[in-house]
Each structure stands twice: as C-alpha cells, then as structure tokens.
C-alpha cells in the first residue's frame, strides 16, 4: 500500500515536471509555429536566475516564482525583437536561428559563470508514508503545474488579451485590420512562453544539477510532449504529459531508468504513428 502511494507520487511528479518543462515550448510552438530549439536554454537561464538570486540573499520562493520568470520573459522579448520577428513562417530558418541562439546562451553562461555545477537546496523537507519517505517538493511541483495550467486557461479563455492573442495567431491580417498590432502580440506571446520556461527552470533548480549545458537534458522530452500533444496548447499538453509521465515513471520503477527512457520513446513513436497530429489533433480538436 505504502509503495503504491509512493509510486503514485512519482507518477504525479513525473507528469507535473513534464507539464512545467513543456508549457513554454507549447505556447511558442502551438501558437506561433516557431520551433524554439533554445527552449532548454531558457529553462537553464531560469535556473541560473534562481540560484544567483538565492546566493545574493533573495528569498528562494521569490527567486523561483518571480525573478526567474520575469527575467527569462524579458530575455524572450529581446530575443523576439532581435531574432524571431524576422522568421515567422520560416520553420527551418527559425530552427537554425534558435539552435544558434542556444549555443550562444550556453557559451555566454559558461564564460560568465564557469562550467561548474551550481544549485540551491530544496526549500521543503521530506515526509513519511509508512516505511517510505518522499519529498514535499513533489506535491508542490504538482500544485505549481496545476496553477500554471489554470492560469493559461483563464487568460486565454476569459480575458481580452487572450482573445486578441488567439485572434492574431489565427489570422494576423484580419486582426490587424481590426486595430490590433500583431507584432506587439507576437512579442508578448513569445515573452510569455519564455517566462513560463523561466518559471519551470526556477522550479527545477532545487532538484537538478544547474550547469550551462543542463538544457540538453530537458529539451528532447519537452519536444516529445509538445509534438505528442498536438496543437492544442492546454489539452494537448496535459494529455501528453499525463500519458508520457505515467509511462516513464512506471517503467522506470518496474525496470531501470534506462528502460524507462526507452519505453517512453517507443511509446512516443507509436503515438505519433497512430496520431500524426498529436493527441489533441484527434480528441480535442479546436479546443484550447
């Protein structure tokens, strides 16, 4: 019984971390059709912002939940103005440019902060489930993933800004004739996606090894989740994270981490073969 609860918590944490690391990518890819290969580096910048703020004496919660997303959001807006705005509709070019950007960010971070592992320790303790122990940080991550999804849903569905954003993504020319400035909306959306990546990086900082190259470990999973989920930002992300997180954690528990990853990737390949447009392309078509 206890072990079932513990494994259940692992699954929840697996799903929550997939939701968090993929959310920013889902917004940028799902809404703007930009393949952001620098997504992992946005996560890394969020983690660095958190670690550096904490070592400068800032409260860890404030660093994770405010400084990391705001900082990376600003970086995202600058990147959009200087690079991405020239690449809308040019899928391959955007991949090349963001790949270059990721190298620049990794190189720059290495130059400034060195290649050593930095980090902060987890701000919450552990708790006991029968004979087992788990980290309180796990339910906290799940809560944050839930809040983030709710916030995305709320903004997109019920606010004027969300409506405008969706309108611009659907038909920028029509939106422009109605008096919306698409360039500004693109910039804000890209910034928002980057901020979500920054938040994820901040939240991961206490449980990951923070190095300039850490993004590489997350980007493949984030892409699989987003592609598997399809174009619907919210439902695609949630369904794909749920499926892949569940498969990965259960497989890793029952076998070894190696097979956990292998089984996850096989599942992803089968899913894409059966549902080429992703889960949401089939089941949540046209939904948010």
């Amino acid at each position: 019984m206890d072990i079932a609860i513990i494994v259940g918590l692992d699954v929840v944490s697996g799903i929550a971390s997939l939701v968090l690391i993929s959310a920013g990518l889902a917004v940028i890819f799902g809404m703007m059709k930009i393949i952001n290969l620098a997504h992992g580096e946005f996560l890394m910048l969020g983690a660095y912002a958190t670690v550096l703020s904490v070592s400068a004496g800032v409260n860890i919660w404030f660093a994770m939940l405010v400084i990391a997303p705001v900082f990376v959001g600003l970086v995202g807006m600058i990147v959009e103005r200087c690079l991405i705005q020239f690449l809308y509709g040019r899928l391959v070019d955007s991949m090349l440019a963001t790949w270059g950007l990721s190298l620049v960010i990794v190189g720059g971070t290495t130059m400034i902060f060195g290649n050593t592992i930095v980090g902060v320790s987890s701000p919450l303790g552990g708790f006991q489930v029968g004979a087992y122990q788990s980290s309180l940080y796990t339910p906290f991550l799940a809560l944050m993933a839930l809040l983030l999804m709710t916030a995305v849903f709320g903004v997109m569905r019920f606010t004027r800004a969300g409506l405008i954003a969706r309108a611009v993504m659907q038909n920028p020319d029509m939106a422009a004739t109605l008096g919306v400035n698409p360039a500004r909306v693109y910039m804000a959306t890209f910034g928002l996606g980057a901020a979500m990546s920054g938040l994820a990086g901040g939240l991961l900082a206490p449980i990951a090894g923070v190095v300039p190259t850490m993004g590489a470990a997350f980007i493949a999973k984030a892409f699989i989740t987003v592609v598997g989920g399809g174009t619907s930002i919210l439902w695609g992300l949630i369904s794909a994270s749920g499926l892949f997180g569940f498969i990965n954690q259960i497989a890793a528990f029952l076998t070894t981490p190696v097979f956990g990853e292998v089984i996850l990737f096989i599942a992803a390949i089968i899913l894409i073969r059966l549902l080429p447009t992703g889960i949401s392309g089939r089941f949540f078509k046209g939904r948010l």
């Binding site: 190189g107 050593t116 087992y132 449980i207 981490p257």
Partner: protein
C-alpha cells in the same frame, strides 16, 4: 572582382576551417633544436569542461615549473593544447594532428575511458608517447601508454569495506551507464561480496537522466544499509539533491567513487553532502606542504572560479613531471629511450606524495586516501601509503609481452 561559385565555396571552406581551428597555445614552429613539444588533449567546453579545466591548469603549471628550472636537456618545453569540446570525434582528429602535423614528443590527455580508447591506437600507430592521467576502471596494457590515475584496486577496495564496517552489509549500487560505471559497479559488487555482504541491486543511469524519483522509490523498497554510487556529471548531481530532499540522506548513507571529483561538495548544500564517503588518489584538502603549494599555485593563477583541484589535476601534474624525469634520465626525447627510462621505476614526489612507475603495467604505485564530506569540503580520514595497481597487474605484464596493446576487461 568577380566571385565565382567555386571560389566562393573554397573561400568559405577555408574560413570555416579557420573558425574551427583549435585553441593553440604557443606557435607551431618545427625545428630539431627548437622547443620540446608536449601535446595536451582535454575538454574545455561541453559537459566535461569542468573536469578538463583543472587538468589543463595542472599541466600548464608543471610545464612552467620545468621551464623555470631551465627546461629539459637545455631546451624549452612548449605546451600545445587542443580543446576536444567533450566530443570523441575531435579527440581522434586532434590526436592525429598532434602526432602527424605538430610532431609532439609526448601527449597527455583523454578524460573518459571512451576518449582514451579512441586516441590510444592513434598514438601507437604514429609511435607517439601517451600519458593518460585519469582515474579509471583499470586494465589498459600498452607499452606506449602510461596511466597515472588510480584504479579500483587502489580506491574502491578501501572504500567499500570501510563503508560496510560503518553501516552494514547490504549495499545498493547506482552507476553511470557507460564503460566506467559498468566496470566500476562490477568492482563494487566484488568488494561487497569479498567482505561478506550482499548487493541488493545495481541500477545504471544514462548521463541525461534528471528525474530520480522512481529510482529513489526502488532503492527504498530494497531497504539497503548503504548506497554505493558511481554517478557522473552535472545531471547526476540532481540525484543527491533529490535524495536529500526526500530526507533519506540520514537513513541510507552514501559512499562514492565519483562524488567530489568535480566540485559536488562545494555546490551541494551542507545537508545534502555531509557524511558522503569517497576515496581517491588526491584531495585538494590534503595539508602536506607539497599539496598546499600545488593548490595555491593553481588557484593564484586562475582565481576563485577554479573548479575543485581533484585527483585528476594532481595526476596530470605528476604525469608531466614523471615524463620529464624520464626525459632527463634518458638524455633524449626519443620515445623508446624515454619509455625504457620510465620502466626503470622512476618516481616523483608530487602533491599526493611519492608516485612510482610500475614497469610491468605502466600504471603507478601511489598513495590513496579515504575522506568524508564535512561542511562542504572533504575531511581526509585515512591515508593508504604506496598502493599498487594490483587489478591491472593481474592481467598485464609488459615485461613478458612488450607488444601487448589490449584494454583488458578484468574478469571479476
């Protein structure tokens, strides 16, 4: 000027080659009575950069010391360092360049066992002397290669019984999923079983695993007395974080053959690392005069951001000095004469103490140390004087088979 397509391609290719050209320290002059050339192949970019950096610093220091003392055979020693960028392909490429184009007299380098096995045959083929200065799984038997790092018989053999005496008989082994981790895990199991213990399970982790939740649950379910870890790299540091976050650090203690090789004690919080046991051929915290001077020389030069000065740096430094002893004794930089001089059992007093070349295996007899993390630094608990490379000696005898070049997977 018209720019034909062909010309454009040629120019672009040349430009690309210039951009890709490696960091070259010093010039590439070639003359018989010019400087003696020491090649170095280490990762200064990519995931292994934090490991490679102090090794290069140590080699630079050794070369400076040799030159300050008047050079070797009246000639200056010139360091030619290529940054292999954590990329095995670049290892092969730069190894050929060092051997064929730069015609260096000796090469020090290689970090992972995978990189060593990529370049070792190249140096055999081009008859260029090679020093591998990293602790590894043991078993390289090659007359052209000298290995100055520790092997499991020198460290794991000390670590496992000590940890078992403290904590109990049932061990759970976790290791990185490539040849170093796989073979080290075998050694761990051997020493656990030799000491009357049992191994609950062995788990391997690819280097990009970041979420250890399910594995931590598995470990708890197995209820071991202690955890033996050979985890490698930045992502794996997260294991110790998640382990401590689950409150397990005080329940199931950890002994490791890799923890602290880069700078885990300094970057993890006190609560996450205190009590972890490790065993290496050198610790930055050693307080012998030679060690203190060595660490000070490196840190003075490279400042506060210098990564931890571990066994890798000490062995690289000692490796260069051992080679220099060989050259002095031989009175020549000729490859065979230097090898024969080193095979007389030359020794060097380095930061870790006395290091002696073992002629049969081309490994070294050296001091090893057992230490515990306390307040984000290592506290050396015990010193084991002059440990021989017994694991490799069991399979390798270069006096009897001078033409052997095998990397033996020691049967355990």
């Amino acid at each position: 000027m018209t720019l034909s397509r062909r010309k454009f391609i040629r120019n672009t290719a040349a430009g690309g080659a210039t951009l890709a050209a490696p960091a070259l320290i010093g010039s590439v002059a070639r003359a018989q009575d010019g400087p003696i050339k020491l090649g170095s192949l280490h990762d200064l970019a990519g995931p292994l950069a934090a490991t490679g950096e102090p090794m290069v610093y140590a080699i630079m220091l050794a070369v400076e010391e040799i030159n300050a003392a008047g050079g070797l055979l009246g000639r200056e020693v010139e360091l030619i360092n290529y940054d292999t960028q954590s990329n095995i392909q670049l290892y092969s490429q730069f190894a050929q360049q060092l051997a064929v184009r730069d015609r260096v007299d000796v090469i020090h380098g290689g970090i992972t066992s995978a990189s060593r096995e990529a370049i070792r045959p190249i140096f055999s083929r081009f008859r260029t002397l090679y020093f591998y200065n990293t602790l590894y799984e043991g078993g390289v038997c090659d007359r052209n290669t000298f290995n100055t790092g520790t092997t499991p018989a020198q460290t794991v053999e000390k670590l496992v019984p000590h940890a078992m005496n403290l904590w109990g008989k049932k061990a759970y082994i976790i290791a990185a999923d490539y040849n170093y981790g796989q073979i080290t895990a075998k050694w761990m199991r051997k020493y656990v079983e030799d000491n009357g213990g049992e191994v609950a399970s062995i788990d391997f982790f690819p280097l990009d695993v970041t979420n250890f939740g399910p594995s931590i649950s598995r470990i708890q379910a197995a209820e071991p007395d202690l955890l033996l870890s050979a985890m490698v790299g930045g992502n794996h540091t997260a294991f110790y974080r998640q382990w401590a976050a689950a409150g397990l650090k005080d329940e199931i203690p950890i002994a490791s053959t890799t923890f602290g090789l880069v700078n885990e004690p300094a970057t993890l919080e006190d609560a996450e690392s205190t009590g972890v046991l490790g065993s290496y051929g050198y610790f930055e915290e050693l307080d012998t005069p030679a060690s203190v001077a060595f660490v000070k020389a490196i840190k003075d030069r490279h400042g506060a951001q210098t990564p931890y000065v571990s066994e890798l740096a000490a062995a690289s430094y000692e490796g260069v000095h051992l080679w220099a002893e060989g050259v002095r004794q031989a009175g020549s930089v000729d490859r065979m004469e230097v090898i024969e001089a080193l095979e007389t059992g030359l020794s060097f007093e380095g930061p870790s103490g006395k290091v002696v070349v073992d002629p049969k295996t081309h490994h070294v007899t050296r001091n090893t140390f057992l230490a515990e993390v306390e307040n984000r630094a290592w506290k050396v608990l015990e010193t084991f004087e002059q440990q021989q490379p017994l694991d490799t000696a069991a399979v390798c005898d270069l006096e009897a088979n001078p033409n052997d070049t095998t990397h033996y997977i020691i049967d355990i």
